[in-house]
C-alpha cells in the first residue's frame, strides 16, 4: 500500500526522520567506545556500583508504583466519579514538573523543621543522600507511566468478565485476582517496564536529592563534565545495554 503518492511520501519522510533522529545519536554513542574501553569501564567498581544502584532504585520505584498504582489504575479504568479528570491530571503532573524542582520539592518536605520532615526523622527515614531518597524521587517521576499503562490495560478487560465471575461466586477481590489481573498482566508488565525505564533515565531530580550514592546518570554527568566524552560514553553504553537486556529478559520470562 506504500506507493509514491504525496501521502505515502510524507509518511516515509517523517517516519524515517524521527527514527534517524532518535537512533543516530544513540548509535553514535554505542559505536564510539572501543572494546578495551568498554572492558576497562565495567571493571571500575564505581561504575558497577552506580549501574547496580540505578537498576535497584528504579526497580524499587517500579515495584512501589506497581503496588500502589494498580488499585488506582483499576478504579480509573472502571469507575466514573466526580473529579476523575482532576485525579488523572494530578497523576500526569510529575511529567511536566521541571526535574530540579522535583528534587527541591522532595528535599524541602523532608528537612528538619518541616512537620513531615520531623515525622520522617523520628522514624529514622532520611532522604538526603540516601537510597531511600533516590527511590522516592524515581517513584515520583515513574509513577505516571505505570498508572497510565495499567489503566489502559484494565480498560481493555471487559467489565462483563468480572461481572460474570461475581455471579459465579467470586468476591470482588477474587474476581480481580482470577480474571482481571491475568488478563491485564501484560499491560501491567509493560507499565512496570516503562516506569522503570523512565526512572533509570532520571538525573536532574536525583542529583539534588542524592549526589552520593551515585546512580549511573549522575556518574555519567560527573564523568562528562569532569573528564569528557571518552570517560562518560562507555558508562552510558553499559547502562543502556544492561537495562535493555533486563527489559527484554523481563518480557521473555513473563511471556
Amino acid at each position: 500500500m506504500l506507493k509514491r503518492d504525496p501521502f505515502s511520501l510524507a509518511v516515509g519522510f517523517s517516519g524515517s526522520t524521527i527514527l534517524l533522529f532518535i537512533l543516530l545519536p544513540l548509535l553514535q554513542m554505542v559505536v564510539q567506545p572501543s572494546l578495551p574501553d568498554m572492558a576497562e569501564t565495567i571493571r571500575d567498581p564505581a561504575v558497577r556500583k552506580a549501574i547496580g544502584l540505578s537498576l535497584f532504585t528504579s526497580g524499587m520505584a517500579a515495584v512501589i508504583a506497581l503496588v500502589l498504582g494498580t488499585p488506582l489504575a483499576y478504579i480509573l479504568a472502571r469507575k466514573d466519579f466526580w473529579g476523575k479528570r482532576v485525579v488523572e491530571s494530578v497523576i500526569d503532573l510529575p511529567i511536566m514538573i521541571p526535574h530540579p524542582v522535583i528534587g527541591i520539592a522532595i528535599l524541602s518536605l523532608a528537612g528538619r523543621g518541616h512537620w513531615l520532615g520531623d515525622v520522617l526523622q523520628a522514624l529514622g527515614v532520611k532522604l538526603m543522600g540516601t537510597t531511600t531518597g533516590i527511590v522516592v524521587v524515581l517513584t515520583f517521576v515513574g509513577v505516571p507511566f505505570y498508572v497510565n499503562a495499567a489503566k489502559a490495560g484494565f480498560e481493555v478487560v471487559p467489565a462483563r468478565l468480572e461481572h460474570v465471575a461475581r455471579t459465579l461466586g467470586a468476591s470482588r477481590s477474587s474476581a480481580f485476582y482470577r480474571v482481571t489481573l491475568p488478563l491485564a498482566f501484560r499491560s501491567l508488565l509493560a507499565g512496570t517496564i516503562m516506569c522503570m525505564a523512565r526512572a533509570i533515565s532520571e538525573f536532574g531530580a536525583v542529583v539534588i536529592v542524592a549526589y552520593h550514592p551515585m546512580v549511573a546518570p549522575v556518574l555519567i554527568y560527573e564523568r562528562f563534565t569532569a573528564y569528557g566524552l571518552k570517560y562518560s560514553q562507555p558508562v552510558a553504553v553499559w547502562l543502556i545495554l544492561v537495562s535493555l537486556f533486563l527489559f527484554l529478559l523481563l518480557r521473555i520470562v513473563t511471556a
Binding site: D44, A46, I104, L107, S108, A110, G111, R112, G113, H114, G117, L127, M128, G129, T130, A210, Y211, H212, P213, E222, R223, F224, T225, A226, Y227, G228, L229, Y231
Partner: protein, 300 residues
C-alpha cells in the same frame, strides 16, 4: 565599545559577588551579556581542558587550579585577586546549634546523628580545603586520629559537587553543619564558627603550618590520583587563550580589578580582595593585556 557574550566559568563560592558584578557591568555596558556558569573550580577548569567547552574567563577558588589545569595549553596568565577563609556554617535548626564553639566543634561533628558535609574534593577546592582544615585541626588541637574519626562520622552522601549547594541543604534542614568559605556564609546569612588562623587557611602568614595538610584527589582521568598541599586561600582568574570575545572579557576584568568595581563588591560581600590584584612574576605581568597592566602589581 565592547559587545557580545562573555562566558565566565567561576567557583561556586563566587556566585553571589559575580552575580552582582554582572549586574553592575551590564548596566555600564548594555551591549555585553555576561553568561556565568558556577561550579566546583576543578570541575570548571576540566570542562575547558578535558571536555572542550569554551569560556572567556575562568575564576577559580584556588589559583593553583588554573596553574595546573589551564596553563600553558589553554591560558597564559593567572591573576590573584582575593582570599578567603573556611568556616563551619550552621542554622538555628541545626542540632547543638546553641552549644557549638571554636573549641568544641570537632567533638560535636563526631556526635551520632549530626549530619555535616563538605563539597567534593575532586571537583571543588573548597572540598579539599575542608579536609585540610580537619587535618590541621588534628595537629593544632593535638588530637591524634581526629581526622579519621571525623571522616568516619561523615558518610559519603554528605559530599556534594560544589560547596554552595550545601547552603540549601542547611537551610532546608537536611544538614546540620557544612564547611563553607566565610564569604559564602556571610552572603547567605548563615551562622558560622570562626576558626583559629592556624587552621582556617585564611592567613598567608601561616602557610608553613598549612603545608602539613595533604589531601589525595583524583587526577587527569578516573582512577588516577594526585595530592593537594595546604596553602592559604587565594582566588585566581584568567582569560583563556582562544576566548571568543577577548575585548569584552578584558573590559570585564578591568572592571573586576578596579578598586571601585569588582574588588569593592567582593569586600562588601564578605570576601577580602587583594587591592590591587597581583601576579607572581614580571614575565606574567608582561603578557597581560595592556589595559589590565595598570590595575595589577607583581607580588609573590
Amino acid at each position: 565599545e565592547p559587545s557580545g557574550d562573555v562566558i565566565i566559568f567561576h567557583a561556586g563560592s563566587l556566585t553571589v559577588p559575580f552575580a552582582k558584578m554582572e549586574k553592575e557591568f551590564e548596566a555600564a555596558h548594555p551591549e555585553v551579556d555576561i553568561l556565568r556558569e558556577g561550579g566546583g573550580s576543578t570541575k570548571m577548569a576540566r570542562m575547558i581542558s578535558d571536555v572542550g567547552k569554551t569560556a572567556d574567563i575562568m575564576a577559580s577558588a584556588d589559583y593553583q587550579v588554573i596553574d595546573k589545569s589551564l596553563i600553558p595549553d589553554f591560558a597564559s596568565w593567572n591573576v590573584r585577586f582575593a582570599s578567603n577563609q573556611l568556616v563551619l556554617c550552621y542554622t538555628d535548626k541545626s542540632q547543638y546549634a546553641d552549644e557549638i564553639t571554636a573549641d568544641n566543634w570537632y567533638e560535636i561533628l563526631q556526635r551520632d546523628g549530626v549530619v555535616w558535609g563538605h563539597s567534593d574534593p575532586n571537583l571543588d577546592p573548597c572540598g579539599y580545603r575542608s579536609l585540610m582544615v580537619l587535618q590541621l585541626a588534628e595537629k593544632f588541637h593535638d588530637k591524634p586520629g581526629l581526622y579519621d574519626r571525623l571522616i568516619a562520622n561523615r558518610p559519603e552522601e554528605n559530599v556534594r559537587p560544589k560547596s554552595v549547594e550545601l547552603v540549601s541543604l542547611l537551610k532546608t534542614g537536611n544538614m546540620d553543619y557544612a564547611w563553607e568559605y566565610r564569604s559564602v556564609a556571610v552572603q547567605h546569612d548563615l551562622q558560622f564558627v570562626t576558626l583559629d588562623d592556624h587552621i582556617n587557611l585564611g592567613n598567608y602568614k601561616f602557610d608553613p603550618f598549612y603545608k602539613q595538610a595533604k589531601v589525595e584527589v583524583s587526577g587527569e582521568e578516573p582512577g588516577e590520583t594526585m595530592f593537594r598541599t595546604g596553602k592559604s586561600i587565594t582566588y585566581g582568574i584568567t582569560m583563556t587563550d582562544d576566548a571568543p570575545n577577548p575585548e569584552a572579557a578584558t573590559a570585564f576584568l578591568e572592571y573586576l580589578f578596579s578598586k571601585e568595581g569588582g574588588l569593592k563588591v567582593l569586600k562588601e560581600l564578605g570576601q577580602p580582595p587583594f587591592v590591587p590584584a597581583r601576579v607572581p612574576s614580571q614575565k606574567m605581568y608582561d603578557i597581560l593585556p595592556t589595559s589590565l597592566q595598570d590595575k595589577v602589581v607583581v607580588k609573590q
